[in-house]
């Protein structure tokens, strides 16, 4: 899957969690812009993990602050899997 396909899939998965309908850009942050709390993060990460059959450990999650970084990480993880 190329980066654009990964992006499209994650965008689709993010939609139900994006309660305020924020316009998601590469630099959109999960904590401040999307206001995800820890439980939302867990559910959202679980959806992505199941979709791409990967693990995004808490350690890796700590490095991901914005949407672009998430797409990059998932793109790399699913390529390596």
């Amino acid at each position: 899957m190329d980066r654009a396909e990964v992006d499209a899939k994650i965008r689709e998965l993010a939609e139900p969690f994006n309660k305020k309908g924020v316009d998601i850009k590469e630099e959109t942050t999960f904590q401040n812009d999307l206001e995800f709390d820890s439980l939302t993060v867990m559910d959202f990460v679980a959806e992505i993990e199941d979709e791409f059959d990967i693990i995004i450990s808490m350690n890796q999650q700590a490095e991901i602050e914005n949407y672009g970084q998430l797409v990059d990480a998932v793109h790399k993880l699913q390529a390596d899997a």
Partner: protein, 416 residues
């Protein structure tokens, strides 16, 4: 250093508009001040002026029924336990002033570990200075960089801190979700070390884990299993060994973590295991090595209490009765509870929000009942909970009294 006395060593004004390292706590300071400004007694600053028994104390000048102490088996005032402590204090002094691996292992520490081995029928037992340190130490030591820890999202802080300290890859799964756990285990790269961390009883809602299924799944993927049985020791399972015993999987788990600060009635933590190399932990586990060992009186009270808990089946039965009666009574009054059926000695009453939860807590304490107020972020799903933990020493009459206080307070606050 100053070049001259005219020049100060530091800039005269701090940069950042009065911000310092404490600024990160401003939100929580504001939350707390807001709560107290409404005339609340501080739920996190209660002082017990006198403790009358395992179930009664004088709190803020009032005689109060204790329903939030985790003193499940009521061992704190057991005459044999108290006597053992006094004797050890007289014979061995007030403290060891040393690490277990240097001058801090007394006969009492060995006897305490012997009592634990017998209690759990396991080959090895290691006593830590607190339950927190037992989880911190064992988890951080056995799962290091490159290893994977798969754990329930509702795990206790000591488990999370152990994960962080060991620098393993941390992979949480949805609370008690067997399928979510299996999916994560399945995706771990081949050859990586795997540790599954579970709890027998989860202390926030008082629910138990489906250990029979979960341990089987963990074993299927070649993971080691650690189960924290802090809230079950002494009364769940035929011999009080915990949910692992009740679920029939005690022989399949690699480590059981426990504490002396609940059913045992003092302070301290432990790990028991049948792993043939377990004893090496004493040399490589930093939270075990780099702290002073428990005072002789504490290990003496713990050992005595553990041995008495081996024969506590009557008390156990009464505690279950209490748990069932309280659960049914609260539900009949119209309170929303954390579990459909009572699963442990913890009954969690779910509050509509933090404000009314705090108001209810205060009404209960005013009416002579102490429970734990648990609030986000320590709670699952950001709930505000009034956690009730029962004691085998609560009489049937006391449970009725507790229910009366809940009814009165709930009506005062208008949540029932």
């Amino acid at each position: 250093m100053s070049e001259g006395i005219i020049q100060p060593d530091q800039p005269e004004t701090l940069e950042g508009d009065g911000k310092d390292l404490f600024s990160k706590f401003d939100d929580i300071i504001a939350l707390r001040e807001g709560l107290l400004a409404s005339g609340q007694e501080d739920p996190f600053n209660l002082v017990m002026e006198k403790v009358l028994s395992p179930t009664r104390a004088i709190c803020n000048g009032r005689e109060t029924i204790l329903l939030g102490t985790y003193n499940y088996m009521g061992m704190t005032f057991d005459p044999d336990v108290v006597e053992a402590g006094k004797q050890a204090l007289a014979d061995f002094g007030s403290g060891t002033t040393g690490s277990r691996v240097l001058n801090g292992t007394y006969q009492g520490h060995k006897e305490c570990e012997e009592a634990l081995r017998e209690f759990y029928d396991m080959d090895h037992a290691m006593v830590f200075s607190t339950g927190y340190q037992a989880n911190l130490g064992i988890i951080s030591t056995i799962a290091g960089k490159g290893d994977y820890i798969v754990l329930d999202i509702d795990s206790h802080a000591s488990i999370w801190d152990g994960c962080a300290m060991g620098q393993a890859e941390v992979v949480p799964f949805k609370h008690n979700d067997i399928e979510a756990m299996e999916k994560r285990l399945k995706r771990i790269p081949e050859g990586a070390g795997k540790l599954v961390v579970l709890e027998g009883v989860y202390s926030m809602l008082g629910d138990i884990a489906p250990l029979k299924e979960m341990v089987a799944v963990a074993k299927k993927y070649g993971a080691m299993v650690l189960v924290d049985e802090a809230h079950s020791m002494g009364f769940i399972g035929e011999h009080g060994r915990g949910v692992v015993e009740d679920a029939g999987v005690i022989d399949d788990v690699d480590f059981i973590i426990g504490t002396f600060s609940k059913s045992v009635g003092t302070v301290g933590g432990f790990c028991v295991s049948n792993h043939p190399k377990f004893e090496i932990m004493r040399l490589v586990c930093r939270p075990y090595v780099f702290t002073a060992s428990l005072p002789p009186s504490v290990v003496a009270t713990a050992a005595t209490s553990i041995r008495k808990l081996m024969h506590g089946s009557n008390k156990r039965a009464h505690l279950w009765e209490n748990s069932k009666n309280l659960h049914k009574g609260l539900r009949d009054l119209g309170f929303q509870l954390g579990t459909e059926e009572p699963q442990s000695a913890i009954i969690a009453v779910i509050m509509p929000d933090l404000e009314r939860g705090a108001a209810m807590w205060e009404a209960l304490i005013r009416n002579g009942l102490y429970v734990n107020l648990a609030r986000p972020p320590a709670t699952p799903a950001n709930m505000t909970l009034l956690r009730c933990s029962l004691c085998a020493e609560h009489s049937e009459g006391e449970v009725s009294q507790i229910l009366e206080i809940f009814e009165k307070s709930g009506k005062e606050i208008g949540i029932i």
